[in-house]
């Protein structure tokens, strides 16, 4: 075993300086924590996968009835259930990742008060579960879409870009929320509320491109362009992603992540003392 050539120095402000190097060193821990969360989530495999499927199925049915039948919103030739499910996939990926990362520090408090590692690892690793859930729903979608006669096209290859955007949006907001929750525990009540209203504010159950007057305002919500992107990929270009909308979405995500990392890092040093 080789010892590091230079001695480790501990003094005030030292952790700051080697932060990103340490983050890289602890990358294996990142993997292990993600693996743990996934393992625990799917430990009882039947229920784990079941839950990942039941939720979108029921939501899709309800949204199809409410938005498609009762409100009679236009679908532009796409079968309404497929339209809803494609939007819902993006939304659930975001929502699962957000609730996972925003609660991650408190649920890992035993680690934080006993072991040193760059704390950013915790919210980052907690996102992995959302990705696995997403894969399962993607399988469901493929089946449902095929039943309605919609088959995968080359557009699918762009999907990872929008998946990544959804995860980054969740991480940016999650960083803020999880750091705030360490100090102010009531932020954990805000997340379910956000997710509850977010599914209606985001164009999950309807197509926004038929309401152009609302678009500038709603495209501040990064999910707007992400959902549009999902539909472009999965529904063979049935919905086009507005460039301006995408740009404002990416800007919001970037701001969330930059300020999120800034706030997280600023409060991180105190986590072990107050958690």
């Amino acid at each position: 075993m080789s010892s590091p050539p230079e001695p480790l120095v501990i003094e005030a402000g030292q952790t700051e300086r080697h932060y990103w190097r340490d983050l890289w060193r602890f990358r294996e821990l990142l993997g292990f924590l993600a693996w743990r969360d996934i393992k625990v989530r799917y430990k009882q495999a039947v229920l784990g996968i079941g839950w990942a499927l039941i939720q979108p199925t029921i939501t899709t049915i309800i949204f199809t009835v409410v938005f498609g039948r009762l409100a009679g919103m236009p679908a532009g030739g796409v079968p309404y259930p497929v339209l809803v499910l494609s939007g819902l996939m993006a939304w659930q990926l975001f929502a699962t990742a957000l609730s996972g990362s925003s609660g991650s520090l408190v649920s890992n408090s035993n680690l934080i008060s006993k072991i040193y590692f760059p704390r950013l690892i915790v919210p980052m690793s907690s996102i992995a579960v959302a990705l696995v859930d997403f894969m399962i729903v993607l399988l469901l979608f493929t089946g449902v879409a095929a039943w309605f006669g919609i088959y995968p096209t080359w557009n699918w290859l762009v999907l990872p870009v929008f998946v990544l955007l959804a995860l980054l949006a969740a991480l940016g907001a999650g960083l803020w929320l999880t750091a705030l929750t360490v100090k102010y525990r009531d932020f954990k009540f805000i997340v379910p509320f956000l997710i509850q209203i977010g599914v209606f504010v985001s164009p999950v159950g309807f197509r926004l491109d038929f309401y152009p007057s609302w678009e500038p305002l709603l495209s501040l919500n990064p999910l707007t362009s992400i959902i549009a992107g999902f539909r472009w990929c999965l529904l063979d270009g049935a919905q086009v992603v507005e460039f301006s909308s995408l740009l404002s979405g990416i800007t919001v995500i970037a701001i969330l992540n930059l300020t999120g990392v800034w706030y997280f890092r600023r409060t991180e040093r105190g986590f072990a003392d107050i958690i």
Binding site: I10, K39, N110, I115, R185, A272
Partner: protein, 414 residues
């Protein structure tokens, strides 16, 4: 070569004297209150600085096993947290040469739903082992923990003993140059504790450095040769373990020559006064002279079959001798009131050194234990006779047997 050097280390916490604003509502309410009272009075929170550690200087040599002792709140945990980088110091500097593994808790990050096998990997990664390293040591860890048959059982079904064994096994197979251990030996059964101690000793004999924090003075004494005594965040004493431990026990709260307790006002029997009547007075007992011990017990109700015993323990709290009296052999405390027990040792055979008493008052075995007192009434045994060639040494033995020598001149070699 010193592997850890600590210079002028300090950690400050700020205590806020106001209802803590741990929920957002508290914070908002407080801000509103501050705004509305602004003119009338300053509603600002009064804060107080509290130095959990102050001016700590210490050098730890390579291959050394060093103990850290001190009362609760003396700063032991804070020092360990800083050394393991969980929290940052406020001032000062530490240089560490080599990989550090800290074991502040057994089984950190164990997940109850995961199997033993999965937890070995998870816990290993959390403690800083690489995946490949864990693979390499996997069998060894499992053998050490003796959990082969339950490897694929979720650890929530483990007995607490198995859980602790597995957790310690993972940690014990880290190969850091510096191992920081906190109180881990306070768990598990006697056989396993022995195994843990052995493992720690072998870590040390491999030339690696161990920092060992414990309340168990016995464990500190048997493991370490040098010790640090922390008191109110400062280093009170650094030196050979026996000296430091002696000082630690002295500053213990029971360090009065006479133990006295005010009646608790309950119906239960209670020790109200314990005194060691040492032969020379002032807590000095001359070896070979009689020693008398005096115990006052208040018992508002009669005790059925009372049992009383005491141990004389040495400075590492190892019992040197045990004496007892039972109601069966000599009736006592059969009526409500109070009783004085006097124990006379005609000639003490204790070696020189510092001793104290552990006292037990109970019903017969299996019944209620009314009171146990540890390390009270310290006294010192001295020898008035001329010392042997090497002087009187407290660490030579615990007591001296009466003995005589017979010397014969066997056939001289020609």
């Amino acid at each position: 070569m010193s592997v850890i050097s600590i210079r002028q280390l300090g950690k400050r916490y700020v205590l806020t004297h106001q209802p803590r604003s741990d929920t957002l509502r508290d914070l908002l309410m407080q801000k509103i209150r501050v705004l509305t009272r602004w003119r009338r009075q300053s509603a600002r929170a009064s804060t107080e600085e509290f130095w959990a550690l102050r001016d700590v200087n210490l050098d730890v040599e390579s291959g050394e096993v060093i103990g850290i002792i001190g009362k609760n709140g003396a700063g032991k945990s804070t020092l360990l947290k800083i050394l393991s980088r969980i929290t940052e110091p406020t001032v000062g500097r530490i240089e560490i040469k080599g990989r550090v593994a800290s074991l502040l808790e057994v089984g950190t990050g164990f997940h109850p739903e995961l199997s033993g096998r999965e937890n070995i990997f998870l816990n290993g990664a959390i403690l800083g082992m690489s995946r490949e390293e864990i693979h390499r040591k996997f069998d060894e860890i499992v053998a050490f923990a003796e959990v082969e048959r339950f490897l694929d059982t979720p650890v929530k079904r483990y007995s607490s003993g198995m859980y602790v064994r597995l957790a310690f096994a993972v940690a014990a197979h880290l190969e850091p140059e510096i191992l920081i251990v906190d109180e881990v030996l306070a768990v598990g059964d006697a056989a396993f504790r022995k195994k843990c101690m052995g493992k720690m000793q072998s870590v040390a004999s491999d030339g690696r450095t161990v920092l060992f924090v414990s309340h168990d003075v016995g464990a500190v004494t048997s493991l370490t040769t040098r010790c640090v005594l922390l008191d109110q965040g400062r280093v009170a004493l650094v030196g050979p373990t026996d000296q430091v431990v002696a000082r630690y026990l002295e500053q213990d709260s029971h360090s009065q020559a006479v133990y006295e307790a005010a009646p608790r006002g309950t119906d239960l029997p209670q020790l109200t006064r314990v005194e060691v009547l040492a032969s020379e007075g002032l807590g000095l007992q001359a070896a070979g002279k009689p020693l008398e011990l005096c115990f006052d017990i208040a018992h508002p109700h009669p005790i059925k079959g009372a049992c009383f015993s005491f141990q004389i323990v040495d400075q590492a709290t190892r019992p040197a001798t045990h004496a007892w009296v039972h109601d069966e052999s000599q009736a006592f405390a059969r009526h409500a009131g109070s009783t004085r027990l006097r124990c006379r040792i005609p000639a003490t055979r204790l070696n020189v050194g510092h001793y104290a008493l552990n006292v037990y008052l109970s019903e017969p075995p299996g019944g209620t234990v009314f009171e146990t007192l540890a390390s009270i009434c310290p006294f010192e045994v001295i020898k008035l006779e001329p010392p042997p060639l090497w002087g009187w040494r407290a660490d030579a033995c615990v007591y001296h047997e009466d003995h005589s020598w017979a010397i014969e001149d066997l056939a001289p070699s020609s």
